[in-house]
Subunit: 343 residues, 2 copies
């Protein structure tokens, strides 16, 4: 690995001049610049970021913490962030926590040692506490929200999405609609539940608490919850299910299959978050789709903007609250209930 000193020597200039020629071309004479550039090229010179960052006290690096990289939604978030970071000349360090407080803490510590200039995080219930490990770090919360004030958040309109899904089911004539909701310590779950309930009540429908079951976001939780709901006596069994995330939706569909319930004839299902899986299963699922890639991009754009403000010494911009709309995609997993109850 050749250093800038090597380049300088080869170009017959001092290291300082070589440095300038490479990073501030206009501070250097035309001919000198050319000689340095040549030398650099010839040696395949690549600046040592460790040294540069150490000196400049800025790494042009951001951290990204996601809770489940195997979930296509999160993979898409991460990709959006990384693409955007790249465009802005930043490098993104990606960490995965599996929703685990300890892993998150370790990720933050590792990150801290590398002096990222900002952090984009999909928060868990522990994040609020864990973030004390990285004081003064500009943060953008992505997809979910901790309640931290002074932090930019980039989320989706979960309430609106849930309302749309619920309205759709109501419009089809369902009166006993169940919901499988995530753990209520996560804001997306809370909001989706709220939207569901709101829409039921605004439409003059009854909200049946016993038809709302929480899960831990995993497929098996979705399956178990669905199994319980769908095993209720026919008179009270829900004829439609709104499921709060993509993983649990898989489980709910599997449960319906196990019980031999035909979708959508005997059971309508709406999932939250679209996926390849939702599109290609039989029948294709009606879902509330989220612009995952754009969420990632926006989170990064906002973070970078904020970093720019800080650097140029301007007052810290007030934290943004970005919210993107969802889209209800009608496919074939929803239909009017088999036997419409007498009105």
């Amino acid at each position: 690995m050749s250093s800038i000193q090597d380049v300088a020597t080869l170009a017959n200039v001092s290291a300082a001049t070589a440095s300038r020629a490479l990073s501030r071309p206009d501070m250097v004479a035309q001919t000198t610049r050319e000689r340095v550039l040549n030398a650099a090229q010839q040696l395949g010179y690549q600046p040592n970021m460790l040294a540069r960052s150490l000196r400049q006290r800025e790494t042009r690096t951001i951290g990204v913490i996601v809770t489940d990289i195997l979930n296509p939604f999160h993979a898409m978030l991460a990709k959006g962030v990384q693409d955007a970071a790249d465009r802005h000349g930043y490098t993104a360090f990606l960490f995965n926590t599996d929703e685990d407080a300890g892993k998150e803490r370790r990720a933050l510590d590792t990150l801290r040692g590398h002096l990222p200039q900002g952090l984009i995080v999909v928060p868990t219930p522990h994040t609020h506490e864990n973030l004390k490990l990285v004081p003064n770090l500009p943060i953008v919360e992505l997809d979910r929200v901790t309640g931290n004030t002074g932090v930019t958040t980039v989320t989706v309109d979960n309430i609106g999405g849930a309302r749309a899904a619920t309205a759709h089911l109501i419009g089809l004539g369902h009166t006993r609609i169940g919901m499988i909701v995530g753990k209520l310590d996560i804001t997306t779950a809370v909001e989706r539940h709220a939207g569901f309930r709101q829409m039921l009540e605004e439409s003059g429908q009854t909200y049946f608490p016993e038809l709302v079951l929480p899960g831990q976001h995993r497929e098996k939780d979705g399956r178990e919850a669905a199994l319980r709901l769908l095993s209720l006596p026919p008179a009270v069994r829900p004829t439609a299910l709104f499921v709060g995330n993509n993983e649990m939706t898989v489980g709910a569909v599997l449960a319906a299959r196990e019980l031999g319930l035909k979708i959508p004839e005997e059971l309508s299902i709406v999932g939250f978050d679209d996926s390849r899986w939702a599109q290609t299963m039989t029948p294709p699922l009606t879902v509330v789709a989220q612009p995952a890639y754009d969420l990632g991009v926006l989170a990064c754009d906002h973070l970078v903007t904020q970093l720019g403000h800080m650097q140029s010494g301007r007052a810290r911009a007030s934290p943004a609250r970005v919210q993107l709309p969802t889209e209800l995609i009608l496919r074939q997993s929803t239909a009017p209930p088999a036997c419409v109850p007498t009105a």
Copy 2:
């Protein structure tokens, strides 16, 4: 951010001693050590990796380059690598290239600036060339292979997997078996194709070149290829399809649906690489499953071992050729052909 100097001052020792107390506890008096540890804790001291790496000329960092983080197979590889790296005390930098030579080059340049000690890469056809950007970097090739000698490779037994899939179809009585293969500039595609052909010929079956169509690994390529194969006149149309990767398998299934072909009654399909999607679609797909997570872990383990050898000055270990078995998972997308041709 407090520095080691702050810790030292607080503990009434020199920076050197503080450093030793933290990284070489046994070189320091018991009581001194305790004072330093206390001070560090009190200040929430976290060593600055940039400075440390610069000084030690070793970053305890590895690069990971994957071609499509949105592909669950690659996400799983990445996760395996990251988990293993973490266990070994290394930090993994993940990059995504979308199979694009330019992105790969940029990723390598960025990586180089951060001085990783090794690289795990899922190679593309350009990788061989691009790797010249990082001379002397220990490399492990993952999933695919460039033909670089002197490089450790961690792959799956693609030939064996393809043979098993083909044997299964032959065993069911299929005599016109088509294959949708990836671009033949990628070793996995070449090997899967070879296994397919081998098994046909060993079984005394005819290998029909016109039933083998290449694709670019994407869903739409799979769909188009399948559309062409399945639109052949009934007499020559394949009754079974072996598809070379997971994305293209999705496309093939969609094509069959578009043409109204029932799976498995009118068309058997075997995919390469399992996925959630393959498990939950109707019918669930018979696939050649790959131990993606383990591949990632092994790649990292081997890389780290190699790094250890280098550091301890031992002769560089000869490059390993790790190959993991695949597993044919029988589900419901394969069945005997509708009308068995007279033998």
